[in-house]
């Protein structure tokens, strides 16, 4: 099942790339990074929703699986947030001739990255029992999620350069973006699933060794 999900995600991504390189190419060429950038930003936010749900799930039920899902979604979300910021910086350099500038969406994506980074640091460096650790991480996960809409609003206090300066004008371009979106979301889901089950196996192994 998981293998099927991965295969499907890769097929979709390859088809999307193919269309992006041929029929759906955007001129000038630097703007084609949109096909990676937009799906990645959506997934970085989706992983935060999974993190919130898993954190609340852990605090209410106390089951390990929720904690592992939270850890997995934070790790995957961190990767997507990193790609989001990296592709954003490349695009910004090509389009506006600066690598980074304080502008609402740029600030928002940077803070998103910081939230994931701190969550992961918290996970590896908290001492104490497993339950206490998981509980504190869940608390941070919930508060960090509260931050996301607040960042969206507060970023409006900064002048904006990030305006969609072009539209998708052919059906091919829309198709490439939509396929890329579907592929990336499936990939994110499959990766979270994979990481969750890996974390579960490593926990079981630890318990076996301690016995």
């Amino acid at each position: 099942m998981r293998r099927l999900l991965f295969t499907l995600a890769f097929v979709l991504l390859i088809v999307s790339t193919w269309i992006g390189l041929t029929e759906g190419q955007i001129v000038p060429v630097a703007r084609n990074i949109l096909y990676v950038h937009v799906p990645n930003s959506v997934c970085a936010l989706l992983c935060f929703v999974v993190l919130l749900v898993a954190s609340i799930g852990y605090l209410t039920t106390g089951r390990q699986t929720w904690d592992q899902a939270a850890a997995a979604s934070a790790e995957v979300g961190f990767v997507f947030a990193t790609i989001l910021n990296a592709t954003g910086m490349l695009f910004s350099r090509a389009e506006w001739n600066v690598w980074w500038t304080p502008s609402p969406r740029l600030v928002t994506s940077a803070i998103l990255w910081f939230l994931y980074a701190v969550y992961l640091i918290l996970r590896i460096s908290l001492p104490g029992s497993r339950h206490r650790k998981a509980r504190l991480c869940a608390v941070f996960g919930i508060l960090a999620f509260l931050d996301v809409p607040l960042v969206f609003v507060s970023a409006r206090f900064i002048p904006d350069i990030h305006r969609p300066s072009f539209r998708l004008d052919s059906a091919w371009q829309t198709a490439a973006l939509m396929l890329g979106m579907a592929g990336t979301v499936l990939l994110a889901g499959a990766l979270i699933w994979l990481r969750t089950s890996l974390l579960r196996s490593s926990l079981r192994l630890e318990e076996e060794l301690l016995r």
Partner: protein, 239 residues
């Protein structure tokens, strides 16, 4: 309600009395704050090319508050850790949320005393003027104070009770506070005249470009995080 008030008062009086007798944290905070202001003042000679004094002054104020606030919050639960005081506190016939509110109030009071000392120093050394809008300045600083303290108090409990290294507290608190720092700095820039009102209200600042909007945003931020931290405090201290 009466229980809440009595519990709140008991813990608050204890914390303030301890601080007044031992003077453990306030002198350190003030000297740290003054050092931060001093360093920023040294690198911002008026007349030289670069950012103006109002910008540096606003930066100095918020950086001093953030880091000195962290010192206060770290102490507030480190003291409870000695001789297992925290166990006694948790066993008291009180709602755990009350403990959080009392600690939050104590931290807000300490940070307010700090602000009363440091704000005039910053305003004098950077030659800042608010053009008669003192009330707005007080409101902005107090709202920032409550925001900084609310998150700091929750996570200082978490970090102290697990005996984690203190550096973890600073990154956790600073990252959650980041959205508030945007309107907070914006408000100070407007007050100190670094951003003229007609620019602040212009269309490039989207729908929330005024001082009033910044204060409203900070109020909303404080409300969200005080309530969230108050609700989650029980989860953090639970054994």
């Amino acid at each position: 309600m009466r229980d809440l008030y009595r519990g709140l008062r008991a813990i608050l009086v204890k914390d303030i009395a301890v601080e007044l007798r031992a003077r453990q944290v306030l002198p350190t905070m003030v000297v740290l704050g003054m050092l931060i202001v001093f360093i920023l003042r040294m690198v911002s000679e008026p007349g030289s090319a670069g950012v103006g004094a109002p910008v540096m002054g606003a930066a100095a104020l918020w950086i001093a508050f953030l880091f000195s606030g962290l010192l206060a919050q770290e102490r507030s639960f480190a003291a409870e850790q000695q001789n297992g005081c925290i166990d006694g506190l948790l066993l008291a016939p009180l709602d755990v949320g009350t403990i959080y509110l009392a600690k939050l109030l104590a931290n807000v009071i300490v940070l307010t005393i700090f602000e009363v000392i440091v704000v005039p120093i910053v305003m004098m050394s950077f030659d800042l003027h608010v053009a008669g809008r003192w009330r707005w300045l007080v409101v902005v600083l107090l709202l920032g104070n409550v925001g900084i303290s609310s998150i700091g108090t929750l996570f200082s409990a978490a970090v102290q009770l697990t005996r984690t290294r203190g550096s973890l507290l600073s990154i956790v608190v600073l990252v959650i506070l980041m959205p508030m720092m945007i309107p907070a700095s914006f408000a100070l820039l407007v007050l100190f005249g670094a951003m003229p009102d007609h620019v602040a209200g212009s269309s490039s600042f989207a729908f929330v470009g005024s001082l009033r909007a910044a204060v409203g945003y900070m109020l909303a931020f404080d409300a969200v995080f005080v309530v969230a931290c108050w609700l989650l405090f029980g989860v953090v201290v639970e054994e």
